[in-house]
Symmetry: C2
Subunit: 351 residues, 2 copies
């Protein structure tokens, strides 16, 4: 059998650390490097940076070019940012050095939505370098788009699609809590929304574009709303306590119109401890089509754990794909990888 697949992880936040730890657990994968934009914890070993209580004998690198040259990864998993502007330099460094890429940056789930120019250039560079680049993640990348497309396959016609995802922010860290405005007063929330500090979920545009392009729908316009969820009773989460009258979360909706009719409605509410006020966390997909499709799951698919799995499970399909830039709908399914990763490679049986 060939040597283990060499994986570099970019990012040491919750997602990057979780991805790196999962790479360590999976037979057939080798964690050859961990890159962080900064070493703010001042750690000497990557093991500490990703939350292990042991050293890995790998430095935490803050020099991407150097770690690529040193570690010679076959695939780099990017978990450092949400937007393409923030992530493009890292993507370019990986691609130009012949490294395949899996990114969980929200905008990478469907780069065409916000950056058709960067999308075209990245595709061209990937093909030239002979590597594949995939954007994935739980949302965008799975629940509100890819899963919808999979289910749509049973339909001969579709009038409209509605997807709802309600999740609990209790386990999340400070970056997410701040971007959702948790603990603010309604006035502060309003100011944060205007200043761009409170943005809530990013990814509606990516999900809508992925769905519409795959179905062959032309969307005229998208209307988005972002509303505060104000606590009526005290809510105690891991890192924050929300008092009555303060912001417990964001309720967001995006409605895509086609020929003047609403055809795709995505609703996403994220709040700390929704159960305190009797709300269930859940995923719900409704396709008003022929035949109709209705699926519901509560609690919701756990976002952080799902994103970590999706990124790692995608490794074989990314290596199997011909060079190019891909979204989840472009590649064959990446199921849970429950055996040696090398066995999932297309050339696994060629030896």
């Amino acid at each position: 059998m060939r040597d283990p697949i060499r994986v570099l992880v970019l990012g040491t936040g919750n997602m990057g650390s979780g991805i790196a730890r999962l790479v360590l657990e999976k037979p057939g994968l080798e964690l050859v490097g961990v890159y962080g934009r900064s070493n703010w914890r001042g750690v000497s070993d990557a093991g500490e940076a990703i939350g292990l209580d042991r050293k890995l004998g790998l430095p935490l690198s803050t020099d991407l070019d150097a770690v690529i040259a040193e570690a010679r990864p076959e695939v780099g998993i990017q978990a450092t940012c949400s937007t393409l502007e923030e992530g493009i330099d890292e993507l370019a460094a990986l691609v130009s050095n012949g490294v395949n890429v899996i990114s969980i940056a929200e905008e990478m789930a469907y780069p065409m939505a916000h950056h058709p120019d960067i999308e075209a250039e990245l595709e061209e560079r990937a093909v030239a370098a002979g590597v594949s680049v995939l954007g994935t993640g739980v949302n965008p990348g799975f629940v509100l788009d890819y899963l919808v497309l999979v289910l749509s396959g049973v339909c001969s016609d579709i009038r409209s699609i509605s997807v709802t995802r309600v999740n609990d922010l209790s386990p999340y860290g400070p970056t997410v809590l701040v971007s959702e405005g948790i603990g603010l007063t309604p006035e502060e929330f309003e100011e944060g929304r205007e200043s761009g500090m409170v943005v809530g979920h990013r990814g509606f545009d990516e999900s809508i574009a992925m769905i519409a392009d795959a179905l062959g729908w032309e969307i005229d316009s998208i209307e988005e709303t972002l509303d505060p969820i104000v606590a009526e009773v005290r809510r105690e989460a891991l890192l924050v306590t929300v008092e009555p009258g303060e912001i417990a979360g964001c309720a967001q909706e995006a409605v895509a119109y086609r020929d003047g009719e609403p055809v795709i409605t995505l609703f996403h509410a994220q709040e700390v401890c929704p159960e305190v006020e009797g709300r269930e966390t859940a995923d719900a997909i409704e396709i008003d089509g022929t035949p109709p499709v209705s699926l519901y799951g509560s609690p919701e698919i756990a976002g952080g754990a799902a994103t970590i799995s999706l990124a790692v499970n995608a490794i074989p399909q990314v290596l199997n794909a011909p060079p190019g830039l891909y979204c989840m709908a472009d590649l064959p399914v990446s199921p849970a990888m429950l055996a040696d990763a090398r066995g999932f490679l297309a050339d696994a049986n060629d030896d």
Copy 2:
């Protein structure tokens, strides 16, 4: 834009007729031929054979080689049979004449399960002829296998998988009702099960093999049960009335074991008018994994309509794929095709 995609439909039962009618409705597809194993209705035009109230100006052909030569299809959709033994001659005729194939024969969803020898030969022939062959359908092919694999992608580990599908046989025709033993006495059901007349659902082996192979699980053994559902109250369906004490359906279960533990449990109950006795039709997928996944939908995804859609929606991906034999997990998702079919071809933008 290129000429419409030329489609030949094999089969004039409920599925073949529905597929042919959908091909007629879809822009970018052209129904170039309809083949039936016999012309038992004695019709002169394919339009009558597929349940239209108008003529199509196409004969109903009972000579497959002749209709292939005459119609020059790019893809043939096979809806004539359930097993590979019954279907292999048609498949061979299509492939050897350079026609891509989509088959809804249950065993074609994953030919490796029962016929690894035929699978290997068919793959070889497809590659030699430069065509692609896909098995699909609602079950096997979607609810109890492909959809499970898609959902498994969010998991880093899986302990077990359980899928339940309960559907209503009321709208089905005589072939299905007989194979499910509907209206028999319990004694007749027992005899039918022993003689092979009552077989219930076919496809558990295909679904289990597709799931296990994609996850990298080795299955030691599969235990299957087939039990009668006896009516307690009178049930009136389209073609049959079931009296109390008679058979209203089949409840089937397959349990796949790995290292002595049950890891995949598929339950499928099919009966006429289950609502009469308070049972909901439904699909339910439970993955005991990290994270857990639980999705439920009631009523169930309508089987006949879903199979028809899946077969037609798969046309672009089958034409896009490199030559070979594929299951649903091998190709990118085939979403609902809601625009001109030619726009979904990989070379759509090359003109």
